[in-house]
């Protein structure tokens, strides 16, 4: 692992900022060296790059996206971009659904959490889209359980909600060419799993924390 930012990553970040003209609001916290998991709504391929580019440059070198292996390993170019340029953590989607027994599913799930915990190490932060897939921008979908388990596994890491506005209109699912509308990125107040809090309660609270940061109404 290296701590330097790939020049191509900086270039892509600049392009993404240019297209989206993103304005960044730190509404619930300030940029910080602390290890964090930034979790946000997901509607566009540009989401990660925009969120990443919104961080101060000294934090960017230590912030890694979590991405779906099945999607990003389709071509050599994709794999290069995601692993070499952005130093992403690639997770296998759907391993738990494919498992033959509940036992095996639990084991696969735990392996994913361990993989993310290891990727955090003692200095990295992660960018996570807990919906697990891109939505249509109308409503933040329900969160996968990974966020909850990872939060329990690494209670020392801060969980920061973020809302990306308008990204579904800039580059929606299924489109290749972006429309340069303006976007707004709001970081909210960090949250944590309360003692004894149920998985579903926490995930709904986290989803609400992201959703409540929305400023512009839906179409």
């Amino acid at each position: 692992m290296n701590d330097r930012i790939h020049p191509f990553a900086s270039l892509l970040a600049a392009v993404a900022r240019g297209i989206t003209g993103v304005q960044v609001q730190w509404a619930g916290c300030e940029p910080d060296e602390k290890q964090r998991i930034y979790f946000a709504n997901h509607t566009s391929h540009l989401d990660f790059v925009v969120l990443w580019s919104a961080l101060p440059s000294d934090l960017r070198a230590h912030t890694r996206p979590v991405a779906a292996q099945d999607y990003w390993e389709i071509s050599a170019l994709r794999r290069y971009v995601v692993t070499n340029v952005f130093n992403a953590v690639l997770l296998q989607r759907g391993v738990m659904a494919q498992a033959k027994s509940p036992e095996e599913a639990r084991y696969a799930g735990r392996a994913l959490i361990e993989q993310m915990a290891a990727a955090l190490g003692d200095q990295y932060s992660l960018i996570l889209f807990p919906e697990g897939t891109r939505g249509n921008g109308e409503k933040v979908g329900s969160f996968r359980a990974g966020l909850y388990h990872l939060a329990l596994r690494r209670p020392d890491v801060e969980l920061v909600p973020a809302y990306l506005e308008n990204m579904n209109r800039i580059l929606p699912k299924g489109e290749v060419l972006p429309v340069p509308m303006l976007s707004l990125l709001t970081f909210g107040k960090p949250l944590q799993v309360e003692p004894g809090e149920e998985k579903e309660t926490f995930l709904e609270r986290a989803r609400e924390a992201v959703s409540s940061l929305r400023r512009i109404g839906s179409a």
């Binding site: 304005q23 249509n136 929606p172 489109e175 060419l177 429309v179 509308m181 512009i216 179409a219």
Partner: protein, 318 residues
Amino acid sequence: MMLPAIHDAKLAWLFGGVLFLLLVSTLIGRWLKRRRKGEANRATIDNLNERIRAWWKMCAIFALAILVGRVGSLVLFGLISFLALREYMTLVPTRRGDHRTLFWSFFVIMPLQYYLIGIQWYGFFAIMIPVLAFVYVPTRIAIAGDTAHFLERAAKIQFGIMVCAYCLSHAPALLLLKIPGYEGQNARLLLYLVIVDQMSDVLQFVWGKLLGRNKIAWRVSPNKTWEGFFGGVLSATALGAALWWATPFTPLQSAGMSFTICILGFCGGLVMSAIKRDIGIKDFGRVIEGHGGILDRIDSLCFAAPIFFHLVRYYFVP
């Protein structure tokens, strides 16, 4: 590249006048800041100073573009169109099915409009958006297949292209006009339009702040008053008339032109305010400090430019 504008003494006088105004207003702003009292005043004065600072930057960019010549003006106005269209489309609700149409608006229709001015093809420039884009936009949305709010969506997109690209592009298109006895001096005509239009906005604001009592359309824009309107329009018209020496007009013609620019500028501001009211926002964006967005600054120009262009073309181009 040649810089013919640099040898234009009258143009230099116009810019000198703008510089003088900026200096005076900066000094007044400083003076007000030192003797201000009370919180409400403070916010107004800070906003005023912010606006003056932004004016310095805008004037510097504009002067540079004019000095570079036709290409400079086209690039500058093309960029302004782009930013304005971006603010507009961001705030006007569109649907997923509009994506490709919007892409075309930004990256084909809008640049083509400015390219047509660049190659001086007046006939195509005049009909491209009102005729071709008008047919293209609803067709493309129909092909995309989503019929919900169809007419609304097509109208919103067409209106955005009309205002931000078509109307505004008439300002740099002034450089195309071949006015006998005025060859190579059209940059001054563009500057004249922008000065009168923007000063009309500023003076309406100032008169409104000083004397404003009776609101014109309080539902649409609470800041527009009859006192501000008359004071602003009359003083900006007087200013425009006094600038006749920079134009192909006589003093009386210049007063008429300026009056038209002021009235249309007012209409533009009113219409854009109505749109903002409808969407439920105060400003279109936050790009220029103190001014709201780009579109808030140029709304008056969008309405004034095409009419001014055609008046000049009708009466002064044989």
